[in-house]
Amino acid sequence: MTTADLIALVPLLVQAGSVLVLLAVLCVRRNHLLSAIASASANATALGFLPLASARTPHAVGELLIIDQSALFFMGLILASAFVVTVLAFDYLERHSVRREEFYILLQAATTGAAALAATTHFAIVFLGLELLSVSLYGMIAYVFNRPNSMEAAVKYLILAAVSSAFLLFGMALIYADSGLMTFAALAEPEARPIFLLGGAALFVTGVGFKLALVPFHLWTPDIYQGAPVPVAAFLAAVSKGAMVSLLLRFTFSTPLSDASSLRSSLAALAIASMLAGNLLGLRQRNLCRLLAYSSIAHLGYVLVAIIAGPAMGAEAVTFYVATYLATVLGAFGVISLLSSGRVSCTELDDYQGLFWRRPGLAVVFTAMMFSLAGIPLTGGFLAKFLVLNAGVSAALWTPVFILIVSSVVGLVYYLRVVATMFSTHHLSVSATSATPLVAVSRAGGALVGLLSLAIVLLGVVPGPALDFIHTLWIQAP
């Protein structure tokens, strides 16, 4: 390992080291605030080292890791999301009587796994990163074990993650069996027999589909979003999804398979099914966590449309989409998390009746998030959807584009319902006083969701700099 390798790996090393540091902190002194600060500052430090690493890109560390601009960008998103989750989790765990400090160890271990996924084309790291992410998540989902559904959610996730890993492993094995290669480049082997490659790729995509909760591999999502502690649901929706999208992006773009019509059409089928099912099933939800789960299914369907559109237009669209989606979903879960006190979890739609009149700040933030998810102008979500549509139209994917339009109108119904509930004055007198007591929202948490909504609005109004930046990421891509 050379100095250049080390410099390229600094952010990842810092992130991995943070797990050990947190353990050490725990040995010295058990203090919730201390652990949370250590955890957040680890993420911040790792983020701070990204520019250092980006000066040397693209840089391959052996065969295992590839540090290029897009990898660092996704890493940045993941680290920033982990930072947000740390702040939310501190606030959330303060109100629960469990041992709190170990949570951050799991959180940072999972983040390390996710960050590794963003920077690899090698199956070994893919598997390692995935397992690191999943195994930590089992613990995180069940962390507040006295909540209802929490054990059920963790066991469900355990089983499904294991199944998806099995699919992935078998897919990798098929590809390796024929080409003798452990990298994505194997798919480009001209002499390989297509049956192995295609079968392997299909199994690989299935495994990723489980993690991304694409229809028909989506059944676990709503239960786990509902059962997990709210910050963990935010982590699942943001970090885990972000890492998997970057992996899928690399997988489809770094191989000629992106032109193979069978893979493309099966991805298109997944996208169409996800968009339709996510938005239609979301209509029936009264629980906001479940609603956001179905919404995430639909959004991953949109992302898939851009992935199918190919690297030329799709890469930028996906990157921008993921960045906006992460900020949006973190903001949305952030508000839910801030409102959920120890006894009462504030996740039912009815809890939000007239929220605007009780907590105008949080309600405005939540409205911005809902509008961003729905793709309404002045929010980043609008521009993100525009980019995806643009990518789809320029690749002449008329059917997915049409389904995207129809299904996003369906989705609009439930986003609007949430907004209308928050602004309604129906049960103002009842719920304001008795039903849901006002939780004291921490300054840090409030400021954070405020910043996120500011970011969303900025991405929607002056997206020029962000788009130019994302464009440069993909120019240098190999």
Partner: protein
């Protein structure tokens, strides 16, 4: 003068109204009023201004009749600019918007008592969005404003509306959003096709006008635009959102919806759908004109069947907007001039009728025609003004609507005599429902849902109606300034899209 100011003042005014609304209920009203009047005054600056010289250095694109243009970079990566422009057509509609906007503030003065700051914030942002639609010359920017104006309108209906407001506001939002996204797909398709043809990525309207697309492509793209505009207009199979939204909205909301929001659909057809895809539009013209005729007759029939005052007026809009659709696809200058006058006149007369309905509801707390009657002797001024606007609505000569409908029919006759013959029956039905409305409310035996006698017009209301009356009479008696303001732009819009299937009528009113 800066074009951005026209949009910026209401935007900033809205924010100020919200902020001051936290402390007081009076400030937001005055801020809204002052900012709209100020914008109106600024806009008058362009009235009678000389059009910009075209061609010089490519700064001003040829083929338009622009009074002012302003381009700023926005998202260079996709060739999106903050491109605003005003010509005679835009100018008239901007003036109409601000004119009615001022009255929207005035009629809400007493009607809206709670959350005043937020109300005026939404009102001003809706107006700003509508102004943006009329001024945007970059298709992305146009779509941006197109979507933007819906959101505050949704809140206006959903928060200050009547009994069934949630249903109405959601339906309104969904209809417009669905059609809007189809339009976005069409815009992107046009963008991609143009980029493929010329290698230039742009959303600039004057540039895209020069695209020559294969007819199969332009058919689909035209349809995408058409659906969005037909929903807003509304054209008949797509009109069902309108009655709910108009009925449930507060008076100011109905006034803006009927007065200007519907005009964005007509404007879109005139500015985008026909000139961008002239051949496809000409092919589609018989269908669209058929839809227009059906809208005229069916809207009138529905209006006649209503027992709810606001619903009646709402359906009469469907009928009036049928004339607009008929005229737009007749595609000649005469019909288009009629369309412009019809847009202005309908904005004023229907706006006035909604103000009337709102004033009645404020007094009686009902919109049910069965629970009113015989008010003439208690409120003679109110009744007189209402009769005047009902007559305007039925197209009595001397008022703006007559000029509009007459010109549309005259122009459309060249394109399709049969359609005109059928559409002319709409005038008869309009007489029926308009007079019926007056008879039910003001004549007959005294019936009231309220124990108190209804009071006549207050000074504030009298001022509003006086201004609206002057406007509608001006349009009816001396429409030449409006016609000649719009004519150069209409000429250039039509000139660009030389309609092949429809014979051009050369003669036209000045």
């Amino acid at each position: 003068m800066n074009l951005e100011l026209i949009i910026l003042i209401p935007f900033v005014g809205g924010l100020l109204a919200w902020l001051t609304g936290l402390r007081s209920a009076t400030w937001p009203r005055w801020i809204a009023l002052v900012s709209l009047v100020a914008t109106f005054t600024i806009t008058l600056f362009w009235w009678g201004a000389e059009p910009l010289a075209t061609g010089a250095g490519g700064a001003v694109p040829a083929g338009g009749n622009w009074l002012e243009l302003s381009v700023r970079p926005w998202i260079p990566r996709f060739g999106i600019t903050f491109f605003l422009g005003i010509d005679g057509l835009s100018l008239l509609l901007v003036l109409l918007t601000l004119f009615l906007g001022v009255f929207a503030v005035v009629v809400s003065w007493c009607e809206i008592g709670d959350r005043v700051g937020l109300f005026h914030f939404n009102l001003l942002w809706t107006i700003a969005g509508i102004l943006g639609v009329f001024l945007a010359l970059d298709l992305f920017l146009f779509f941006f404003f197109w979507e933007l104006m819906i959101v505050p309108m949704y809140f206006l209906i959903g928060m200050w509306g009547h009994e069934n407001r949630h249903y109405a506001s959601t339906k309104f939002f969904l209809f417009t959003q669905a059609s809007g996204l189809l339009m976005l797909a069409a815009i992107l398709g046009l963008h991609a096709a143009y980029a493929q043809q010329t290698g230039v990525t742009t959303f600039s309207y004057p540039e895209l006008l020069t695209a020559s697309l294969p007819i199969e492509t332009s058919r689909w793209l035209m349809l995408g635009f058409f659906v969005a505009f037909a929903v807003k207009l509304p054209a008949v199979p797509l009109h069902t959102w309108l009655a709910d939204a108009h009925t449930e909205a507060p008076t100011a909301g109905s006034l803006l919806l009927a007065g200007v929001l519907l005009k964005t659909g007509a404007y879109g057809l005139l500015r985008f759908a026909v000139p961008l895809f002239p051949e496809a539009a000409a092919e589609f013209a018989p269908w669209a004109m058929g839809m227009g005729v059906i809208g005229i007759l069916y809207g009138a029939k529905l209006a006649f069947a209503q027992r709810d005052l606001k619903r009646l007026v709402a359906y009469s809009s469907v009928s009036h907007m049928g004339f607009v659709l008929l005229g737009v696809f007749a595609a000649n200058v005469l019909a288009w001039q009629g369309v412009v006058v019809q847009m202005l006149a309908h904005g004023i007369s229907t706006g006035a009728l909604f103000v009337m309905a709102g004033a009645l509801q404020e007094r009686l707390h009902t919109r049910d025609l069965d629970r009113m009657g015989g008010f003439w002797e208690h409120m003679p001024r109110f009744a007189g003004v209402s009769l005047l606007f009902a007559l305007a609505s039925l197209g009595l000569p001397g008022m703006g609507n007559f000029i509009g409908e007459f010109l549309v029919l005259l122009g459309a006759f060249a394109a399709s005599p049969i359609a005109v013959v059928c559409a002319a029956f709409g005038l008869v039905f309009a007489t029926l429902y308009s007079l019926w409305l007056v008879q039910e409310v003001f004549h007959g035996n005294y019936r009231s849902s309220s124990t108190r006698l209804p009071t006549d017009l207050s000074l504030r209301e009298s001022t509003v109606f006086a201004a609206l009356t002057i406007a509608i009479l001006w349009l009816g008696l001396y429409p030449t300034p409006f016609l000649s303001a719009a004519k150069p732009s209409l000429d250039s819009l039509l000139g660009n899209g030389a309609p092949s299937a429809v014979k051009l009528v050369n003669q036209s009113v000045p």
